[in-house]
Symmetry: C2
């Protein structure tokens, strides 16, 4: 069965864009749209979407409030994918606190958008989707770190994946990790790929950054 998505954004253009991108996927179905967070609750009750793509900034009720409302009033709530325009949107931290499962930049490429929807639908948390990892890297606020750590935990790396990530943060290559763990390099590649996917990282460097920024490893 396909992944069902509810779009919540005050701009019709953005909704149309998201719909076009997502509907192009055979396994994703957009089941509804809303122009404001205030309309979300009844729609979620009726449509029971797997994922809600939620804009942060909306006129009546913003994405943070709407996220809180959904999680508070709906049992077996849908996954919340927060959609934001700006990288340095402090609201994303609010959304994290509110319980959002992932983030998405509006200017993300279609493949990234699709990827993000699938990931959250599968129950994986998107720690550093698209360029939000850059936000984490730039944001000087100390409070943000705690949330990131919590989300990393929710990313639920398996034991082996966590071990591989730890060795990545030591600067080891795939071959070196393989030697250290006494497995084949192909195995390591599998784990590394899993780590990259779960962290929303494009390459091992971004994964290591995510590890530092989230407190998975600490410097010094």
């Amino acid at each position: 069965m396909p992944v069902t998505v509810l779009l919540v954004d005050d701009e019709p253009l953005v909704r149309a864009g998201l719909r076009a991108v997502l509907e192009a996927q055979p396994d994703i179905e957009v089941v509804g749209e809303a122009a404001d967070g205030a309309a979300v609750i009844p729609l979620v009750r009726r449509l029971r979407p797997d994922v809600v793509a939620m804009d942060v900034r909306m006129p009546l009720m913003d994405g943070i409030e709407a996220t809180r409302a959904v999680l508070r009033t709906i049992d077996d709530p849908p996954k919340i994918l927060v959609v934001t325009t700006f990288e340095n949107d402090e609201y994303v931290y609010e959304a994290l606190r509110a319980g959002a499962d992932g983030f998405l930049l509006k200017r993300a490429r279609p493949t990234e958008i699709v990827h993000a929807v699938r990931l959250v639908a599968e129950g994986e948390s998107l720690l550093f989707p698209a360029s939000v990892r850059q936000l984490a890297a730039t944001h000087g606020d100390a409070g943000g770190n705690r949330e990131a750590r919590a989300v990393l935990e929710r990313a639920r790396l398996t034991e082996r994946e966590a071990e591989v990530l730890r060795l990545m943060t030591r600067g080891l290559s795939n071959a070196e990790i393989a030697a250290r763990l006494v497995v084949g390099t192909e195995t390591v590649k599998s784990h590394v790929s899993a780590v990259l996917a779960k962290l929303g990282a494009r390459d091992r460097t971004q994964a290591v950054i995510a590890a530092y920024e989230s407190g998975f490893v600490a410097p010094g």
Copy 2:
């Protein structure tokens, strides 16, 4: 003129190995050997080597003491390249404090050894030579960070290189950095290579790790 090196190690075998590796290079010349730190001062006075490859653990006077002695009593002192067997040798921090310019693991590959000698001879500090970067990553001691930071400063990245490193720590690819700085990707590659060389990093991931471990960038 060639780089002149003085070998200081209590094990003849290690000295022979280092000599063999270094003498194979046309631009490197081993001008002397000593079996203990206690013999270093007069030898340095007489031979005036560019680099002293100094073992840390020696019977009479260890490498840290010898390093302090050399820097204290010799004007225009040679560069000190500390040679150690173990990755987790707390002594390397002592050596850093004492003013050593670089580190070298005995099990490093010949090319790495040669590379390290050339680098310190050129006045570059080896922040994470060979696998000492792994030490920095594992070592939980908070005190170690200050030294690393100091050495990073001594690595003297140019302004442009520092900027490139900063963008690397944001997870950007060479192409993305090029776009950001409005230069060609080949230019970025040059800067990246320079950064890797100065930090003793093998790839951008290790460079980012070094940046975090040294305090060049801080998480959160």
